[in-house]
Symmetry: C2
Subunit: 249 residues, 2 copies
Amino acid sequence: MSRTASPSQDPANPLTPVKSLVFDVFGTVVDWRGSIVEEGDAWGKTRGITVDWARFADRWREGYMPSMDKVRKGEVPWTNLDHLHRALLEDLLREFHIEGLSEQEKEHWNRVWHRLKPWPDSVAGLTRLKKKYTIAPLSNGNVALLSNMAKHAGIPWDLILSAELARHYKPDPEAYLTAVSFLGLKPEEVMMCAAHSVDLIAARRCGLRTGFLYRPGEFGSRRKADEAGPLDFDVVGADIVDLAAKLGA
Amino acid sequence: MSRTASPSQDPANPLTPVKSLVFDVFGTVVDWRGSIVEEGDAWGKTRGITVDWARFADRWREGYMPSMDKVRKGEVPWTNLDHLHRALLEDLLREFHIEGLSEQEKEHWNRVWHRLKPWPDSVAGLTRLKKKYTIAPLSNGNVALLSNMAKHAGIPWDLILSAELARHYKPDPEAYLTAVSFLGLKPEEVMMCAAHSVDLIAARRCGLRTGFLYRPGEFGSRRKADEAGPLDFDVVGADIVDLAAKLGA
């Protein structure tokens, strides 16, 4: 009886040299929107405050790109994501008329990003992939945010990689190439995995392999999630468990 | 019946704010000398080569300080430990008359530092400490070396910190302060743990807390290991399991 070789064992396969998988985190590994809504609902009840928490989460996330762009263009010096989130939170609290929070309460709210919950398949999929590959986040989240999140949610990373290590936010090439360098690998030995095409296209330009996975629920009903055809990236999976299966892990 | 509070629960105790423990690795967590001797003996037999592997290991390690000092003084640009080790290895192979190694064999030898074995108490002690603290290496070893070592030996770090992230070798203050910054903590919330007084004294100058542990076998019979009295550092343990017990973990 012949056994079909896993694609990653075929020496002609471009995935054969891959030794490490690095993951986008917000939306790809964790459900930022659902997690913020859940904490908001619970907190609002204890305070007797009614807020459209989905909109609160969306507005917070929408502020993220222009904030990072200012850093990227050099208009402000390097600022990590915890600090960008905190500045955005001050505006949000005003916008949603949430008043009278102590410094400690604001700081607790800001650290909701450290407590985001993984999608149901994430920990199982990463646990499988860890047996075959070195796995790490490669997120615009700062190192402390990512390591606190992993500890809180039981995400089994081998190491924490972050745009903060390069002081360049994705999709700047420095973010990908610094991660590759710290791994001691060549770009083609590293696969960027994400639910966002823009991230993968930027990684591919730097020579990394690419793995797409589909997160239809990331933006709720307000925005359509990215989709990909089977040939758009080196691997296209329905989720992280499916990605593991397709990589023979 | 009164129950004695753990020292780390006492608000007057200087260890109360500690949230993260960072560890020196070579000699503190892993037995570099014993591991190199073991690999050397096994490899020598397959090649019919007789070498004093303990001396080989000692010579390799002795070369480490002057190599790092050149980087520290700016005489050479930043060079990570894998590359320093590799340059030293070329000299060593000549000194010990080991000839005819292929590039692949040299690279495999150089990566013996990625395969060093933990002391018998290390994994058990770190597993206990991980329940209470965020734990990371803070070594002069580069990120890839430390993450490969952890994966190989099952060392359960929460994240990998390294002098490489600061591009400054310990005991330069930048090495300690960069680690503290990536952890998102204050210096007094981080404890440096090491079997070497010089490392702890430098960390203390940066405001970190200090934990000493005793590794009498690090240098074999050729050199005495550092010792410490109970008041020399914030905590003094016989090994990592004892450190965990003393920290109430």
